[in-house]
């Protein structure tokens, strides 16, 4: 695997498992990769390959993990994360229908997030965040059920960006949306990344989406990275592992 100088995020020999004892399920078996600052790194694989679990382990949402995980050379331990971590690293979830509190308006979601991130001038920042993700202020006082899927995902992205993070973990952010909305959200994410110099880790099962979004791509299967590729290589079809070929076949036919 290609080495990265001064990695923003480096993961070495990450193992994640659920349950203990006889019911133990190994979701991730020894995954290592490094992501440079400002890079967009993709993780692809079929469902159940452990790609989302990697993100959950980084953010402390996975129950058990081992190995080393460093953000800006600071090691993470256990399931606790510091405030600095939450300021630096944020996540966008897969299903925008499940990631917004059903009884909170967009305004409540964003103002609470800004408050928790210790940002003053909440009023002004809400308007700024909404316009950053392409929503006008008429959406501000709506409940999630008054928004479409794409609009919800925009709100979720605004929430993730509220604390001005440096790393954004994207857990299949478009898989619950229909195709035309997918493109909108992907372009929005690309624009935001360029504007705010974000580092992305992009998880998806869709090779086309990942090729469009990422510089480097790791193909995962059954909890292991089988191959690490550059987006160009993938675009030209220069792949060595049969499983990657299978995925490519499945995506482009």
């Amino acid at each position: 695997m290609s080495e990265v100088k001064n990695p923003k995020l480096s993961i070495h020999d990450l193992k994640v498992w659920f349950n203990s004892g006889r019911d133990k399920v190994d979701a991730v078996k020894s995954v290592s990769f490094e992501v440079a600052e400002g890079e967009s790194f993709g993780l692809v694989g079929e469902s159940g390959s452990g790609k989302s679990t990697v993100l959950r382990a980084i953010t402390g949402l996975a129950p058990y993990w081992s190995g080393s995980c460093k953000i800006d050379k600071a090691s993470l331990t256990g399931r606790r994360r510091s405030r600095e971590f939450f300021r630096k690293v944020q996540m966008v979830f897969q299903d925008p229908y499940a990631s917004l509190h059903p009884r909170h308006t967009v305004d409540q979601v964003l103002s609470e997030t800004l408050y928790l991130q210790g940002i003053k001038d909440i009023e002004h920042n809400i308007v700024r965040l909404l316009s950053n993700v392409g929503l006008t202020s008429k959406f501000r006082f709506r409940f999630p059920h008054q928004l479409s899927g794409g609009q919800r995902q925009r709100v979720a992205i605004a929430r993730a960006l509220a604390g001005q993070p440096e790393v954004l973990l994207l857990d299949e952010p478009t898989s619950a949306l229909d195709v035309s909305v997918q493109a909108e959200i992907l372009n929005l994410l690309n624009d935001l990344r360029n504007e705010q110099n974000l580092t992305f880790i992009f998880v998806s099962h869709n090779l086309a989406v990942v090729t469009h979004m990422c510089d480097r791509i790791a193909v995962m299967r059954q909890g292991e990275i089988v191959e690490c590729l550059l987006a160009d290589q993938l675009g030209r079809g220069e792949i060595s592992h049969p499983y990657s070929a299978e995925l490519l076949e499945a995506t482009y036919g």
Binding site: T59, D95, T113, F141, R159, G163
Partner: protein, 303 residues
């Protein structure tokens, strides 16, 4: 049907302020609730109960405590006593009207204590899990294992007879089911993405429980409390009937039935009238609870 400007404002899908968003949600709930005729009847009966309780001294034709032995056990429809008089010659209608205050007092106190205790225990145990969950749920099991009236009887026997003690006893026996409901709700909510999302913003357990989990548990608790209210009134009346709740001469409905029991064959109205009152209020709470379930239940897929 043309809408008033205020209705347009309330029904708008594009609210422009925090207050409008909140009021608009309440108003939409009310509109949905209004379509349920039975629930509206229940609400009407309860409003009537509150009205009667508040204006009892103005509405009651007689003093509920004044005895007149020469005028005892007057039948329904007699002069000056529409619902007749009891064994001590007291006007049953007036006693019924003042009894509404006691019923309301019991209902309000139990409704304040039991669901709050249940909500606290349930959400804390559900969210924290592990040993805390185990201990709290075993305590809940202990309370659940006793039949409600028997446990209430034991409490009243220890604490002494009286309305306040009856309320405490009923509350102590009523909270476990609420703790169970709140815990079950919390277990499904706590692993959802929106809780993960707020945790990733650095929110602590206290904030998550009070601001994110409670609002979602409260609606199912309100439904359950209203449906249970009928049972609570009956237990209170039962305690009164057994002489362990309100003490004479206080006009508690259960105690009134207890008094009338002795004459039930000759003077059936003495026990029947307060019985009908208990029946009406219990029914009203059940109807209201059914209606609220249709409006509030987050699982009905309306919102």
């Amino acid at each position: 049907m043309s809408n008033l400007p205020i209705q347009d404002w309330l029904l708008s899908d594009e609210p422009t302020s925090r207050r409008q968003a909140k009021l608009s949600r309440l108003f939409k709930g009310w509109v949905a609730f209004q379509t349920n005729v039975l629930a509206m009847i229940g609400l009407g009966i309860l409003l009537l109960l509150i009205f009667v309780a508040v204006f009892a001294p103005l509405l009651a034709p007689h003093d509920p405590f004044v005895q007149n032995l020469g005028n005892r056990l007057q039948p329904i429809g007699s002069d000056q006593h529409i619902f007749g008089t009891d064994s001590l010659g007291r006007d049953i209608l007036s006693r019924l009207i003042f009894g509404a205050r006691i019923t309301l007092y019991i209902v309000v106190l139990v409704a304040i204590i039991a669901p709050v205790v249940g909500l606290l225990v349930g959400t804390v145990s559900g969210y924290i899990g592990g040993v805390v969950d185990m201990i709290l749920m075993r305590i809940t099991d202990v309370f659940l294992a006793f039949p409600r009236l028997v446990l209430a009887l034991a409490f009243v026997a220890v604490l002494g007879a009286g309305i306040e003690n009856a309320v405490i006893a009923i509350s102590l026996t009523a909270w476990p089911p609420y703790a169970r409901i709140a815990r079950a709700e919390t277990l499904t909510i706590r692993s959802s993405d929106y809780i993960c999302a707020i945790r990733l913003q650095g929110a602590g357990p206290l904030r998550i429980i009070t601001k994110h989990i409670w609002p979602l548990c409260i609606s199912s608790l309100i439904i359950r409390v209203t449906l249970d209210m009928a049972g609570i009134i009956l237990v209170a009346a039962g305690l009164g009937f057994l002489g362990l709740g309100a003490q004479p001469p206080s006009p508690e409905w259960g105690a009134m039935i207890s008094e009338g029991r002795r004459f039930i064959l000759d003077s059936w109205w003495v026990a029947t009238i307060p019985g009908l009152a208990i029946f009406a209020v219990s029914l009203a709470f059940n109807l209201l609870g059914d209606g609220l379930r249709d409006v509030l239940d987050p699982k009905s897929g309306r919102s």
